[in-house]
Subunit: 331 residues, 2 copies
């Protein structure tokens, strides 16, 4: 009980394999009644082209891998980053008739499997999301002869076109806003320093403080809500007189707000708070969170565009998207 082949379709329609192939691929040089006959045969037999045979000759698969090189705990968290990227990438690639294949690469073994899968020619290209410095995948994938683009600047210097948002600039704008508010002791809760976003946002904070002659007060979290709460308590112990805090992501900012409330500090009267990411929850905190928005969907679309340009042999240069300060009530 084998699947019907193009040969069978052609025989049933009384035409050659070549003509049947033309109909399947929508070529216009086929006479209408022949086209109809072939179409009928296809429907009757339930014919579906064998993708292996097709891609053997075309050297294309029309599938794109989206490799998420993060531990599952982070991928499946409250942070909507990954779900937005996945949805948006699928949407963009559907428009050009390509299928997204999602692969999670957390452990060393899964890295190896992903690499083998891609080296085997299962996909035409790779979109990589990898935020950690120690990640071996960016360099490993760039060695394979496969078009690769990255969401976010790769942590290691490697020849991969990428799309990123302006983390440094966004952080600078946020801290400058706090300075403009007349705040004197501006602390920060930084993200993990083995992640590119964590590094860049801290750099932005430092740039502004340095220029404006403030002292920096730093605590480091790991981008989770809980770590934000812990870091905030730490900061309050370190410098009880602080009157502002720039938090490197909204999830930690939510935790920080909670710690501030427990410590009896009013926001923004006693302490102004600015977050980063503009997640959904930022609108519903008490008070609503001032934060830096970066356009995830646009960034993803730009990444897809970059990959398509790679297919077309066009030049693919890194893209940096601007961020926007969303002023609510917390600062």
């Amino acid at each position: 009980m084998r699947r019907p082949t193009l040969e069978a379709v052609a025989a049933r329609a009384g035409v050659s394999r070549a003509t049947a192939s033309r109909v399947v691929n929508g070529q216009t040089t086929v006479a209408p009644q022949i086209r109809d006959a072939v179409q009928r045969a296809i429907d009757e037999l339930g014919y579906v082209p064998n993708s292996a045979a097709r891609s053997l000759v075309t050297q294309r698969t029309d599938s794109i891998a989206l490799v998420v090189s993060e531990p599952p705990t982070r991928v499946f968290s409250e942070d909507p980053l990954f779900s937005t990227v996945i949805r948006s990438a699928s949407y963009e690639l559907e428009a050009v008739n390509k299928q997204v294949v999602l692969m999670l690469a957390s452990s060393a073994e899964s890295h190896a499997r992903v690499e083998r899968y891609i080296a085997g020619g299962h996909v035409d290209g790779v979109m990589l999301i990898s935020m950690h410095g120690a990640d071996p995948l960016p360099s490993a994938l760039s060695r394979l002869r496969v078009p690769v683009v990255s969401y976010g600047r790769p942590a290691v210097p490697v020849e991969i076109p990428y799309v990123d948002n302006d983390n440094v600039g966004g952080a600078e704008t946020a801290v400058r806003h706090l300075v403009g508010l007349g705040r004197r002791r501006i602390a920060t809760i930084a993200g993990p320093q083995d992640m590119i976003g964590g590094q860049d946002r801290l750099t932005g904070y430092r740039n502004v403080l340095h220029d404006s002659d403030h002292r920096s007060i730093v605590a480091v979290g790991d981008f989770t809500r809980e770590s934000g709460a812990v870091a905030m308590r730490q900061l309050l112990r370190d410098d009880p007189s602080l009157d502002a805090v720039f938090v490197a992501n909204d999830l930690m900012a939510v935790g920080a707000l909670q710690s501030l409330r427990q410590a009896g500090r009013r926001v923004p009267d006693d302490v102004a708070v600015v977050g980063f990411d503009d997640i959904e929850a930022a609108r519903y905190t008490e008070p609503p969170l001032t934060t830096v928005r970066h356009p995830i969907a646009e960034q993803t679309a730009a990444m897809v565009g970059l990959l398509l340009r790679l297919f077309g042999e066009g030049p693919a240069v890194p893209v940096i998207l601007p961020t926007e300060l969303i002023i609510r009530e917390s600062a």
Copy 2:
């Protein structure tokens, strides 16, 4: 600049294509020094087998699709169900050298794409996670001539082997526990009734109440924390004298505990609470949550086993895994 072929490897090693193929596929009938020569040629050329050509002849791809037919908001939520299934399925299939390809099918268009992808022979089999009654995928996939198994009983009657946990039995055990505690007015917060888990857990609740001559008090949530809080307030309005509540999942139970606290009810003294799922957070609620544990990883492993049996032409009968009542302090 093409990828090297087996032909090239054979030529470089001074052997035939057949022998080179034997080495690549680890057959033992090759003389050691020839094996070494071929291996050296492979390494020098950086040869990787072309998967399209291979699967064209073997009729296998060694890839398995894991189709998650849920909206991304649910997949990427606090509920660790999906991340556990994905991780566990990958782990199990790695052991038999198969690659998991993850596909999200939320919209009607993505259903169509997934169907086409599978019909095109990209994968050897499909693991389906689909909880909603209206979902067209189970029947659509079962029509294709592809081995399909399901995580959870399909909502529509369809010829797909599945692995499920004993939702009805688990709910019965939970409610019987409340009855045994001497509780008289036992309410429930049910899950969405278009989902199989929501239905079954409500059935279990009704079975026990009916047998033990209690009155049923039902509110319906949608498995989110917030909906649990809302439903609990609703129940307290409906019947202020209730002294126990069975909640269809832990996330809603967390919300319910919050509402009970706000209403000034002590748990378990005034109101006993039992949840379902035994998520991580259930240990850290105040008080820790009594709940029904079902083994997600084991269920996933059983599902993988079912699929492998399908490949081996073995009989594949539905598997129902037992649940376990975890008694903590809330009931």
